[in-house]
């Protein structure tokens, strides 16, 4: 129903839409498992609490029949294809449920030779949005409970998936809260901006959840864990926190796909995606590059060109 309604007038996405996507995902997952196209499928299962979901690695048809898609399916599952999770599923082609924003991470991981397209079967989700944090989980997605990143989503339609689940549906007239917040911060005098971030970073407890969920933080040895000698103070104090956040922002520049997972999982509500977006903006301005749109040979920070902009070297 909703999918057919004029998108300019959609004020809610009803559970029926998510149920239809769920059906499509189940059908596809069961099929590729039965046909042994894949050894397993990374998807979502319902959580114990109402309106929650949890990532799952399913390897049997019975489990695949329980997969869901709902506004609670917030995780970027591509993290389960890299780092410590590499090899969690036995060798072979893997199916993965991916929203548009997750697809950007997959493309980025292909660019960085962490993944090969032919090893994946991508069940793309035509995604109207997911819940933000601390909102009412009613099953219906509205302006009141949609995640901040989804308000400005440009990838509702997943490009380059093997199959797509769902038909186009999106909420109308969403205010771009994050872009407005970016503009507000950029307009601040430098001292005020510094104070803004200092205040936020002072709450950081270095739980590293932001790093652990990021598909691109896949270093075997994170600089910030080094202690012989210590590179960045690992104690949660102003100096180390600032250093950690600079390192994180810099290391993700030109790579971050904008899934905003780091910000979502931060138990201290630190608006990390503002930093990610700022770095993305720099990359766009300096190199006309946007990470994760499609796999490329090399990202701009991994190569040198004679005509690279050097104005930032002072």
């Amino acid at each position: 129903m909703n999918a057919r309604a004029n998108k300019n007038h959609l004020t809610s996405i009803e559970p029926a839409y998510y149920e239809a996507v769920t059906e499509a995902i189940r059908k596809e997952a069961v099929k590729i498992l039965k046909e042994e196209t894949v050894v397993g499928v990374v998807g979502y299962l319902p959580g114990r609490r109402k309106g929650t979901a949890t990532p799952a690695l399913v390897t049997s048809v019975e489990e695949a029949e329980k997969l869901i898609f709902s506004p609670a399916c917030v995780n970027n599952l591509s993290v389960y294809l890299t780092k410590a999770k590499k090899g969690v599923l036995k060798q072979g082609k893997v199916g993965i449920v991916a929203k548009g924003c997750d697809m950007r991470a997959l493309a980025g991981l292909m660019t960085e030779s962490q993944l090969q397209r032919e090893d994946l079967f991508i069940i793309g989700v035509v995604c109207p949005g997911v819940y933000g944090f601390g909102v009412e989980r009613t099953g219906t997605l509205t302006e009141a409970n949609i995640a901040r990143k989804c308000r400005e989503c440009t990838v509702h339609m997943p490009e380059g998936a093997d199959v797509a689940a769902g038909t186009h549906a999106e909420l109308a007239d969403l205010t771009p809260e994050e872009a407005e917040e970016m503009a507000r911060i950029e307009a601040m005098p430098q001292a005020e901006r510094w104070a803004f971030w200092k205040e936020h970073f002072s709450r950081c407890i270095r739980c590293m959840a932001c790093r652990q969920v990021c598909p691109f933080c896949y270093c075997e040895q994170c600089l910030c864990d080094k202690n012989r000698p210590q590179a960045v103070e690992s104690s949660p104090r102003p100096a180390g926190n600032m250093a950690w956040h600079l390192v994180r922002a810099m290391h993700l520049a030109g790579r971050c796909g904008g899934c905003a997972e780091c910000e979502r999982v931060c138990p201290m509500d630190i608006p990390l995606n503002l930093l990610n977006r700022r770095m993305a903006k720099e990359l766009k301005e300096l190199y006309d590059f946007e990470a994760g749109l499609a796999p490329v040979e090399k990202g701009p920070l991994n190569q040198y060109k004679e005509d690279d902009d050097q104005s930032f070297i002072k």
């Binding site: 959580g47 114990r48 949890t54 995780n75 949660p236």
Partner: protein, 335 residues
């Protein structure tokens, strides 16, 4: 029954601040409520469970334990003067927070006496408050507490329907606090208490769970959870009962500070030895430790469960790992 009005509770905070006590309570910090020093009674925020637990009052996120400086040929080491730790009053902790120090005291005063923790404990008074606003992550009843459990509180407040609080001075510290501010408390019958919220998980057989854990050090369950767990510190850091810490020397070899800060068994390097060997080399061994420590090891050693059922780890886990669900699963097992 002793009653304190909401206004007088806030006045009490003002008075304690004037007495140069460190008064800590739930307070809005940015968009999150945290336990923070209160400068006035008006700052007390009782409508949300603070994002981090009140353990940090005794066991801070990070603290200096000594400093060192090379002077000529010798290294001068300066200890932290713990006598300077302030007299502290914690106000507004629900049972799942107020109850945690009484669990942690056991390990902190065991074979090694953690004087940093113990000194702060000696100097603190805990004003707990009955909880009326749990959600579907709470399961304090299932681990032996309840929304009106007085465990760990020196003075315990029960919210009444007319906005005031019934007070029970549980310990001498609590009695002393009331005696010193008598005029703020009144004798009275008191209105009806505000009702508690029902919890989804109410009953767990902790003895049975422990027995299962004893027999299932190796079990596919651990792998199933670990397949999903991304190995962060969120669950341990915000937990009122987790108490692991790391020690780092920061600064230079000539001049620096030794610091103690929170650690978590979810981290890949949690038990990494200097040799490079790691006995908990994969995530399932690390997650297993989380459950074992809370529901078996701690009980073996100290006869207590290392969990107050606050539900924080459930709300915060990036991947939705739900400890109450895991306990229910174990509880339901037949083998």
């Amino acid at each position: 029954m002793q009653i304190i009005t909401e206004q007088n509770l806030r006045n009490l905070i003002d008075l304690l601040v004037k007495e140069a006590k460190l008064v800590v309570g739930p307070k809005l910090s940015g968009s999150v409520v945290l336990y923070e020093p209160l400068t006035a009674g008006t700052e007390l925020t009782l409508d949300a469970l603070p994002r981090r637990s009140s353990k940090e009052l005794f066991f801070p996120v990070c603290e200096d334990i000594l400093s060192y400086k090379r002077e000529g040929g010798a290294m001068k080491v300066t200890d932290v003067d713990r006598s300077k730790f302030p007299e502290t009053v914690l106000i507004g902790a629900p049972p799942c927070d107020a109850g945690s120090p009484s669990i942690l005291d056991a390990v902190m005063s065991w074979d090694y006496k953690d004087e940093f923790y113990l000194e702060r404990r000696r100097k603190s008074t805990i004003v707990g408050i009955a909880c009326t606003k749990g959600d579907d992550a709470c399961f304090c009843r299932a681990v032996g507490l309840s929304p009106d459990a007085e465990n760990g509180s020196d003075l315990f407040l029960t919210p009444l329907k007319d906005g005031s609080y019934a007070c029970n001075a549980v310990t001498e510290k609590g009695q002393a606090l009331v005696a010193a501010h008598k005029n703020l408390f009144a004798e009275g019958a008191g209105a009806e208490p505000v009702p508690f919220v029902d919890q989804a998980v109410q009953k767990l057989d902790l003895v049975k769970i422990k027995k299962w854990l004893e027999e299932h050090f190796e079990d596919p369950l651990w792998e199933r959870i670990a397949d999903i767990c991304v190995g962060c510190g969120a669950c341990a850091f915000i937990c009122p009962a987790c108490h692991c810490f790391d020690i780092n020397d920061e600064g230079s070899t000539d001049d620096g500070v030794r610091r103690k800060h929170w650690d978590a068994c979810g981290f890949a390097k949690f038990t990494n030895h200097a040799s490079g060997h790691n006995p908990r080399d994969v995530q399932n061994k690390r997650y297993r430790n989380r459950i074992m420590h809370k529901f078996k090891y701690y009980d073996d050693k100290f006869g207590k469960t290392l969990c107050t059922g606050c539900g924080r780890c459930i709300r915060a886990c990036p991947v939705g790992i739900d400890i109450a669900e895991i306990l229910e699963t174990i509880n339901a097992k037949q083998d």
